[in-house]
């Protein structure tokens, strides 16, 4: 289809597909938000500020990618905040025990811990056939509880962590923060996987129509299981990055983060009903939510109203998205019904 359209009218068709996508409306909301904030305070687009925005959103972006894959299969993972917290604390503990561990090894260990925790979720859901909402609500408390019991109120301080590990949190490569580059790599890798590989497309099949997917021969249980392993592994990666970025850690790291992650995916156009959405959208949603939190104080919104404003902006971005979708639908019905 796309190739056909491309052959007929290359440039405008490409533009049309782009502006009709859900990702575009999220991107538009982000641009509007940044434009308004910059109009109020030009320093919002200074070099340091852009670096801050990238750093602030990188953890949420990574987690939103995992969440998007889970939501696409018509499930939800509420345990990601706890997985992040547990992995972050484990990172601190491991570095206290092994100060000479290379940073790259720590990243691998974090991903592995997260994958194991994700596998627990996945096994309970796919094998025991308990709804994901209940299972991950349970493991949200269990993983956090394990974290609390392990930490016993202890604190990991920046002086406990190796200097080159902390440098990962604030350092840059050619002006781009490491964390943003890691987040970008995660988004690109999973974006390409979900779009182009057969096993990636199968996530959408499971989320769109379980029966059809099963008849087609897709092992639904295994697919859901792997979605949770991916989500857990990325939350584990997020935990290691959290430790590098903040240095100061206790067992409450990432508490309440799960709702931001789900919100990021939903704002980014990943339908909670399953089968629809991309990790690019989820990543944009994460950047949008983080930018909202950063922009409100710059705009001078009273601290007492900031939370309510975040909710309003979440709803506004969804309304904008819905409006653009309806308009597109009308246009498609009006003329040009064979395009797109």
């Amino acid at each position: 289809m796309t190739t056909l359209t491309l052959q007929r009218q290359p440039s405008t068709a490409w533009l049309g597909t782009l502006t009709r996508s859900r990702e575009f409306s999220v991107f538009l909301a982000l641009v509007i938000l940044i434009a308004v904030t910059v109009a109020a305070n030009p320093r919002f687009l200074s070099g340091q500020s852009i670096k801050d925005l990238l750093l602030n959103s990188s953890i949420l972006v990574i987690l939103a990618v995992g969440q998007a894959i889970v939501i696409v299969t018509k499930n939800v993972d509420l345990s990601v905040g706890s997985v992040l917290g547990l992995t972050a604390f484990a990172t601190g503990k491991i570095f206290i025990a092994l100060p000479d561990l290379p940073v790259i090894a720590m990243l691998v260990i974090g991903v592995a811990i997260g994958a194991v925790l994700g596998a627990i979720n996945g096994a309970l859901i796919a094998v025991a056939k308990v709804p994901a909402l209940v299972v991950t609500l349970g493991t949200l408390y269990i993983f956090r509880g394990v974290d609390f019991a392990w930490a016993q109120g202890q604190q990991i301080n920046p002086s406990d962590l190796p200097a080159d590990f902390l440098a990962l949190g604030a350092g840059t490569l050619l002006g781009f923060p490491y964390l943003a580059l890691i987040a970008l790599a995660v988004v690109m890798a999973f974006g390409l996987y979900l779009k182009n590989l057969r096993s990636g497309r199968e996530f959408y099949a499971v989320g769109s129509d379980v029966q059809a997917a099963r008849l087609y021969g897709i092992r639904v249980g295994r697919k859901v299981f792997s979605a949770f392993v991916i989500s857990g592994a990325l939350a584990g990666l997020g935990g290691v990055i959290y430790a590098a970025k903040y240095g100061n850690l206790d067992a409450t790291a990432g508490q309440g983060l799960e709702l931001n992650v789900v919100a990021a995916a939903v704002v980014g156009g990943v339908a909670i009903a399953g089968g629809v959405g991309t990790v690019y959208g989820a990543a944009l949603g994460a950047i949008l939510l983080t930018t909202i939190t950063s922009a409100l104080p710059v705009l001078g919104v009273s601290p007492f109203w900031q939370r309510a404003m975040i909710g309003v902006l979440i709803l506004a971005s969804i309304v904008l998205d819905r409006y653009l979708a309806l308009r597109t639908e009308r246009r498609l019905r009006g003329h040009d019904s064979h395009a797109g």
Binding site: Y246, N248, P303
Partner: protein
């Protein structure tokens, strides 16, 4: 909204119920465990109207419960460590309970549980000055003595408040530290607080504003107060916004341990390091790094461990009838010596300690 993944949901109903029950059990087990299994001292003192007897011995087996704003907050881990040490010294039964989130009403159910368990002393730091009042009143009518520390409730709902340092002392110390750090030319400063409703934070902020009116601080101008909600990421974003909204900012005061650590972490990795000064209230262990790498010059805090220690002794003195909370009464707090009850039933721990690169290694909290 359906999050269930597969078919056959109707047949599985019993399994859901079982899972939900199991979950509920798991949750309640996570939520409110107390370790007070001992029954010693069940009949310990309760009569609040009785006159104080300064020579009464501390009763053995007092059930002393610490209820911090939030468990797993390193500040309260240290206060409660001090409390546990004191309770051990006078052979009481120590327990620590608390919510995992520092929200206004989250402490109420814990107070109710402690009341039912017949606690003799509840030492608490209030998330909200009013929200826990009626629960505390119930606890007191059931015979418990209520000591608040760190963050007070309305004075009518507790027997004694342990003040870590006078609010005036805290405010003037921080203003002096930021003034010294910025230098004689002065400039714009901002405050990074915890939540917008925190009792002690707001009291300090008011007093800092008053302190700034003194002639020696005429060149310091407070331009903004931001709230980081004691969350690392939010605190960093608030600092970033302060720096963008006020390009001339010379210094930040953060009178909260989470806020100051997050701000220091951000400043040390940004272009503002060493150019924008930072001070406030923080833990030596968290901030040593930043004193040594030049992000900060100094910060302050009282001896947190002694605060919990004193609260535990004050509770025991109340429960044993040594004091009733009236002004002028005295009691002995273990190794800290004698303390006097001040106006409004408050006891003062002392003056805040200032930490610099020179002395920070001596402290272990």
């Amino acid at each position: 909204m359906k999050f269930m993944s597969t078919t056959g949901s109707r047949r599985l109903a019993p399994a859901y119920i079982a899972a939900a029950t199991g979950l509920a059990l798991a949750l309640s087990a996570c939520g409110g465990t107390t370790n007070t299994s001992s029954t010693a001292g069940g009949g310990a003192a309760s009569s609040s109207s009785a006159a104080a007897d300064p020579n009464a011995p501390i009763k053995e087996g007092l059930k002393v419960a610490f209820l911090p704003k939030q468990l797993n907050n390193s500040y309260f881990t240290v206060t409660d460590r001090g409390g546990k040490a004191a309770v051990g010294e006078y052979k009481g039964v120590f327990s620590e309970v608390g919510p995992s989130e520092a929200s206004a009403s989250s402490q109420v159910s814990y107070i109710n549980t402690l009341t039912q368990q017949g606690s003799n002393v509840i030492a608490t730091s209030a998330n909200d000055p009013k929200a826990i009042c009626s629960a505390l009143d119930e606890a007191r009518s059931a015979g418990a003595k209520v000591v608040t520390f760190d963050s007070d409730t309305d004075p009518s709902c507790r027997d004694l408040y342990i003040n870590q340092a006078t609010a005036e002392g805290i405010a003037s110390t921080q203003i002096k530290l930021i003034s010294d750090a910025i230098g004689p030319d002065g400039g714009d400063i901002a405050i990074l607080s915890a939540t917008a409703n925190a009792t002690n934070q707001n009291a300090w902020i008011e007093l800092m504003k008053k302190e700034l009116q003194k002639p020696e601080y005429a060149k310091l101008k407070l331009v903004a107060t931001a709230y980081g909600d004691d969350n690392a990421q939010k605190s960093q974003q608030e600092v970033q916004a302060l720096l963008q909204a006020h390009p001339t900012l010379k210094g930040i005061i953060s009178p909260t341990t989470v806020g100051i650590a997050a701000a220091a972490q951000y400043l040390s990795g940004s272009e503002y390091k060493g150019k924008v000064q930072l001070t406030g209230l923080g833990f030596p262990s968290q901030l040593k790094e930043f004193l040594k790498n030049g992000t900060m010059k100094s910060f302050a805090l009282w001896d947190v461990e002694k605060l919990g220690y004193l609260a535990a002794y004050a509770g025991a003195a109340l429960a044993s009838g040594q004091i009733t909370g009236a002004e002028g009464q005295t009691f002995k707090a273990g190794t800290l010596g004698e303390f006097k009850v001040g106006p409004n039933a408050t006891v003062l721990l002392g003056e805040p300690t200032v930490f610099t690169a020179a002395n920070v290694d001596k402290y272990n909290f």
